[in-house]
Symmetry: C2
Subunit: 391 residues, 2 copies
């Protein structure tokens, strides 16, 4: 007997019976004490602009490095251990008044579960032992058994418990296109030669990879919701390397299909969905129409202009250049204020609210001084309260 | 006694007397046989869409590699030798019906002449032995003596002669901001931590570096015109890594100052200026207002949309994804047609012409099969003639 996580996906994605601890927890979650993040995602009023930082649990924090050493100094040994993943997820919340937590994991867990063999070399990015390069590789590719990703869902449940209602927990995945980049290239790339050769030379194979990724990512994110995730984010980290036209066919169409397949309500709560295409500013309007609640923006986008372009369709998340955090705290605060002012007062003249979630335009850099993050969070909260009070 | 190249720059930029061979040549150049590139830059009628490729003289050509071996297998030994630089510049023209030649050189010659010590390691990008990291480094920085760049101007004159009027010759430089990135980082970077730390932490120092670069690049490009360059291109390769706001202050303002300081007429001919900010699609209208004749676009930009956004202010250059050239020739031709169709017929309903110069959205990749370049050039010429003939 199987216990389907989502009836739309059929039994192939089910977890084995007796392993659905998350579902049993549904009604046991403590009440949320800070819902500013969720409210801003849904374009509701908030007393301040919520702020969280992509990769906020990470190497810039000494306590993260200490936990990593305990875990044998490997990224995957942290990510696959529920206790360590919980510990590091909560570390930045103990230092800074952040308004959301994000699951500690990697965007590439899904292709790892497909059997591609994910590893992180010392000082290197991710690498797959068995990349998808040939027609035979593509034909052999299958949507993974979600039981192989149980460590992720267990971490989600553990973190949600440990948060004890302080702030909401965001689950996430790489987008179908971004996963495909790594799956075909086998690692990061500066020219995307292999994946683009497949895309332009054998678009049929590329679409098959993307279809499988789309099914897998949808089921994976829904299982995170079942396990306790209160919002979802899709990282299309490499959408911006595609040409106009190719982006729509090979990235956005699949992002849209994932978003359409997601559970949007859980225990009477709306589960907001954020999509973020780095380098996707030119496609902002199309991204705003993909069905997500929030579009993430990198720092090249002018926020005032972006707000005009999306109208009231979606909230916006972003978009400080993470490199600002290398400057002294006064400069950090000044640039944070500039981002908030660019978006402007979230209250509209018609009485409605537009949503802004403050974030960086990319993951926080490992060389960031933690005290500058404190200055940033403080500046966002203080100045955004001030903005709301303006007549 | 000094011989100023450009009276606006004063004597500091002069070449030593007796070394101005280029000026003496002015009236000796043979008549241009193919002016489609220059005419398209100036939004005049052309029988086909001109095409050239960034980095068209390069490692994807076996004959280039052969010359490089002769030169001792180093990039700088090729670039600093007039005979070799001339030879490799002409190689792609002998294979393909390209409509322009571009000086074989590097964007980083100017900071090398400032004494920063440019080198290219085997399989690596450029590297400076003495990067600009401290206040003392910045204070010591000076506009270089143009005589140190004589090898470039001699190459321009030699290439112009060797071209014998086949196609026009494009001179170029890195933009002030792009030079500053390399000068401060000392090499390529994936996070621009050092240069952005200076930018946000000590904007006064950053502006001083940029001011010096602006003066140097302006004088350098004007000297290329004196030596025989018939068009100029400013490569703002790293403008796209800047945040909105920072881009305008630290890149675009200096690009504009360079463009304003350039000689735009030589021997009765207009010298068109192309500016290209990779990743700058969101700032297209601002780039179109910087005084250049042409704005280069990378492949993320929709050409039809770009044409609408710039109106009739500038011509557009671009924007095929260089990765398309890894696909089979039929796919290359199909994608080239898609780019041409996206721009549309250059003739307007009001009888005027909008300019389109076909190019890649970035330099050609070293792994490109040369036969695919032949297919590309053929497709651009054939299909663009067809487009013009449409009622």
């Amino acid at each position: 007997m199987q216990f389907p996580l989502d009836s739309r996906q059929g039994p192939a994605f089910g977890l084995r019976p007796g392993t659905t601890a998350a579902n049993a927890q549904q009604t046991m979650w403590p009440e949320l004490q800070n819902d500013t993040f969720l409210r801003a995602c849904l374009r509701q009023s908030t007393p301040h602009t919520p702020v969280w930082l992509m990769r906020q649990a990470g190497r810039y924090l000494p306590e993260y490095k200490a936990t990593r050493v305990k875990a044998g100094n490997s990224f995957m040994s942290l990510a696959t251990n529920v206790q360590y993943a919980t510990e590091v997820t909560l570390q930045p919340l103990d230092r800074f008044s952040l308004d959301a937590a994000i699951l500690f994991s990697d965007i590439l867990t899904v292709p790892d579960a497909m059997g591609l063999g994910l590893s992180f070399g010392a000082g290197e990015g991710p690498r797959f032992a068995r990349p998808v390069r040939t027609e035979a590789d593509v034909v052999a590719l299958q949507v993974p058994d979600l039981n192989k990703l149980r460590y992720v869902f267990d971490a989600v449940t553990s973190i949600r418990k440990a948060l004890n209602g302080r702030v909401p927990l965001i689950g996430f995945s790489g987008s179908p296109w971004t996963l495909a980049c790594y799956m075909v290239e086998g690692s990061g790339s500066d020219d995307y030669r292999l994946v683009k050769s497949m895309l332009y030379g054998r678009p049929d194979l590329m679409q098959r990879v993307l279809d499988i990724n789309t099914q897998a990512v949808t089921a994976y994110l829904n299982a995170q919701v079942d396990a306790g995730a209160q919002a979802l984010m899709l990282f299309d980290s490499w959408g911006g390397v595609l040409a106009d036209g190719a982006f729509q066919r090979f990235s956005l169409d699949h992002t849209r299909r994932v978003v359409q397949g997601l559970k949007r309500d859980k225990d009477g709560q709306r589960i907001p969905v954020i999509v973020f295409t780095k380098g996707g500013g030119l496609w902002l309007q199309q991204l705003a129409d993909c069905g997500a609640d929030v579009v993430g923006l990198d720092w090249t986008v002018n926020l005032a202009d972006a707000r005009r372009r999306v109208g009231h369709r979606v909230a916006l998340q972003g978009n400080l250049d993470p490199a600002v955090l290398f400057a002294p705290p006064e400069a950090v605060a000044r640039e944070a204020v500039a981002v908030l002012d660019s978006f402007g007062r979230p209250q509209r003249a018609d009485g409605g609210w537009d949503g802004h979630i403050f974030n960086l335009g990319h993951g926080i850099n490992q060389h960031t001084p933690p005290e500058n993050v404190a200055a940033l969070v403080e500046a966002v909260h203080t100045h955004s309260r001030r903005l709301r009070a303006l007549a």
